[in-house]
Subunit: 298 residues, 4 copies
């Protein structure tokens, strides 16, 4: 943790000599101090990826002023670096700051394990965000949400009302300025239309080791196939269900002694830890998406 607010840039684009030096040089020349810089080259694709985090310089006090030193306008620095990365380096860039508190909505159905896990970690200070809404298609978790001081909104969904409900959900997201939706075992598929209109990331937890057992009832599928490990996968939701960029995966060993119910129970621990890790990495600006894959700077 830095005492000062930092800027984080996630860059990617065509590889070319000197990129590391030019980024570092740009920051150094403006009095910034790089705290972390991590880069990756995809040799086959010729793409350069970088996550760089730095403390921008402090603007000194104006002559004669008694005012304390104050941080430079982070938005200005952000804008300036973005312009540099795009124009001079030809990079795509996404920026965030350690001072950010992005607004997050959690979507739930009836299962409560991922929700409690996220809420408790959030209360413990693990997630730098504000949870501005808990959206449920069932009312089951209303009381639990309120117990954490969170706003619960109930949107029942049926096949007939789905379009209309999504419109309302979207309105809520906009009204509350939501920048990230986390699907914490939300048992509805968000339409391609919703995703497009929302325009910000949606993280989903799938209860299998994708691409194995995509689709419904993965623990039943796993049990029927007789696998020796079950898994969970956190990924960004895309219009192609279960096909989005994978952020994190983990597995646990199972045996013939485990019935479907045991897989479900053991899977809950996986789902919790995999989803929480993915959300944390996302909020820390460690996940860069390109194509259908992610680069995770952990």
């Amino acid at each position: 943790m830095s005492a000062h607010a930092t800027l984080i840039a996630l860059l990617h684009g065509p590889d070319q000599p000197g990129l590391v030096a030019r980024v570092a040089g740009w920051i150094f020349e403006r009095g910034g101090n790089i705290l972390h810089a991590d880069q990756h080259r995809d040799r086959e694709a010729g793409i350069f990826f970088q996550r760089v985090e730095w403390e921008p310089a402090f603007a000194g006090p104006t002559m004669g002023e008694a005012a304390p030193r104050r941080p430079v306008d982070l938005l200005a620095a952000e804008k300036e670096f973005t312009e540099f990365a795009r124009s001079s380096l030809g990079m795509q860039v996404r920026m965030l700051s350690s001072a950010d508190r992005p607004k997050v909505a959690i979507f739930v159905s009836k299962a409560d394990h991922c929700f409690h896990d996220l809420a408790l970690r959030w209360k413990a200070g693990d997630f730098a965000c504000d949870i501005v809404a808990v959206v449920g298609n069932h009312p089951d978790l209303a009381k639990a949400a309120e117990g954490y001081g969170l706003s619960f909104v109930h949107f029942p969904v049926t096949a007939e009302t789905k379009g209309a409900v999504e419109a309302k959900q979207l309105a809520l997201m906009r009204e509350r300025g939501v920048e990230l939706i986390v699907l914490a075992r939300y048992m509805q598929v968000l339409s391609a239309d919703f995703l497009e209109k929302f325009g910000a990331p949606v993280i989903n937890i799938h209860h299998s080791f994708l691409p194995a057992f995509a689709g419904g009832r993965p623990y039943h599928q796993a049990h029927a196939r007789g696998v020796k490990l079950i898994g969970a996968t956190a990924h960004y939701a895309t219009r192609d269900l279960d096909e989005g960029p994978i952020i994190h995966q983990d597995v646990a060993r199972v045996t013939h002694r485990h019935g479907v119910e045991d897989l479900v129970r053991r899977g809950r621990d996986l789902e919790k830890s995999v989803l929480a890790q993915a959300v944390r990495w996302h909020l820390d600006g460690r996940v860069l998406v390109y194509g259908n894959k992610t680069v995770v700077f952990d």
Copy 2:
């Protein structure tokens, strides 16, 4: 390790009360001593599974003989128990003995890591078997096999000659009394006809976490999908490629930094350990196949 030879029975069949007691009672009444007994009930399917290992009683020396005590005829005891399990308990049964040294053939192509691993473990005494043939469709591993004192047989295979070659391979298996074939990264698919005629188990190592990335070039598939874990799966070969009963699986973590070549290299360690563990469990009589699944009594 027992000082005396043991019998191992793998039983399965319709569940009914008293099975554990009846098996234990039968052995006890004949003076046997149970060393291990492990059972499992599949409640949904109503099937009972058991692995039981015991020391049969010793037949005492005939009066007046100076002969040392000798173990009872294991084959007779085996036959007797099998008859009991089938007729009285209605169970399917497979039996083996700690005195067995099953004859094993290893099939290889060019990759040598699984072959060396199996051969070294075998030399270290980890596998209770005799390796009576190393069969290669390429000659690359001939020298390595001979270095371990193993008989290497080269059977080049082309699309045209495949049927004829399989007939020759089958003849060799019969001639040498092979009871288990281990496909140690053998890059040919054994035909359904071969498997049926061979009539004994064939263990294969697939270099992915099945059912994900079945088929060819699994590391390329895994890299393209951007998964965060790669896997390996040891299974019994069946007529449906990559669909046979899974014996063992394991995974290793990978990141965006790993290109396909890195996945291949890291995967080698997984393939070695997963295949070796599956072969060991099989030889120790710990794997019971039913339907398309396995019960592993580890």
Copy 3:
């Protein structure tokens, strides 16, 4: 899950031929049906260990009665088996039943992660027990406990008052019939005197991979030594701090990037899952203690 109540016996004692058969026979003769039986022989020590779970027979209705069939008195069956195991087999035995709901107290200090984890699993039905008291030496978790509908009792402890407080804690344990204490990051050492007088199991979670980093501030010790894995250990508390029989352990990978605070944060997940698993195994009658070790029939 059986529809009927089951009995579970944990046996250990000197090995002798026929033990499996005699136990199974005894149960079978009384009309019981064995659901699980798992045994282990320690060859070096010559000790036999067994966990056996069975459905005792139903007592039929008395002639002329219209009364429904009712389960045999479980206590009677328990007493009878215990007598058999001790007298006839020379075994030590501990018995429990699937009908039991043991009374559990959770001891806490300020850290809440293990407490929330246990409480949520308990609410989800993972633990077959009643949590009859949450005891804190600090008041911090009072509200959280009450949120789960649990009785919180605050016992401040100082070096001077420790003896007197333990006496009060003990009185509370007796008053509420507590059969298991779980130390969920309770930052006080229970005295040998308390443990002896309590006379029932106490499960503790130590935040290191014991025996490495016993004693205080294990994450600081781990960081100073530069280990590449951190661990957590659940064990029964004994008079020798951190020396009791180990029930469960797990580890997580760390790197030079993790400062002490990161180890603490990552360690929380380990502590939660390791403690919860140990408590579950204990409640399911899967843990047999002998000497300073455990046999876990998982």
Copy 4:
């Protein structure tokens, strides 16, 4: 893999603003291209660590020459960078090149699993080094070494001859230019005097999860304590036995079913993979030692 030889620098020293930029700038100004740069700040200690790998510029052909372009003198570039890092940045620096083939000696006793594993990986091209000697205090592995085309040297050691033998070993190391010794289950402790005179790194594999079970017979210690995981630790040898900087560790799950012999057998797989990984990281210039810890840039 780069088509061209790269330079790798491992730097550490007092943290100061602009270090990343200054290193990157220095390389860029001389026409080099950074392939990887990974840095770490130890906030508490105020130390900066960096691994940077780059392709130095090519010296163009002299006018009129038909000679192909040739790489700049790597030694010169290395010297120049070292001078810069020390004088201008106040850093300690260790340099190597992808063109290096360091000379390695493997020390063995009777156990052969780590030796075979290293030799096979080396033959498969996993290690960029030349194995110039296999030194055994027993003759058991002579034939195995020769089978790989390696020079085996037998130095029997007794308590009385140890000093004299170490002198001979040292002479051999010098004669053959050994830059790294790998102790592949070598059952002798190298004296502080030997380590000092040798003056280059020595990697040892200890068959426990250090600091647990330091000293002799760790599997016996682990079995006696009843731990649920066994481990292996690769570390640099220092004058304090089992206290050197840890490079890599891993663990495997064990149960009450595993006797000491089973721990030994399962431990072999851990020892192999942990030692091989440590050697590989060392050879790739990924391990930076400071104090009694390592920073591993993996």
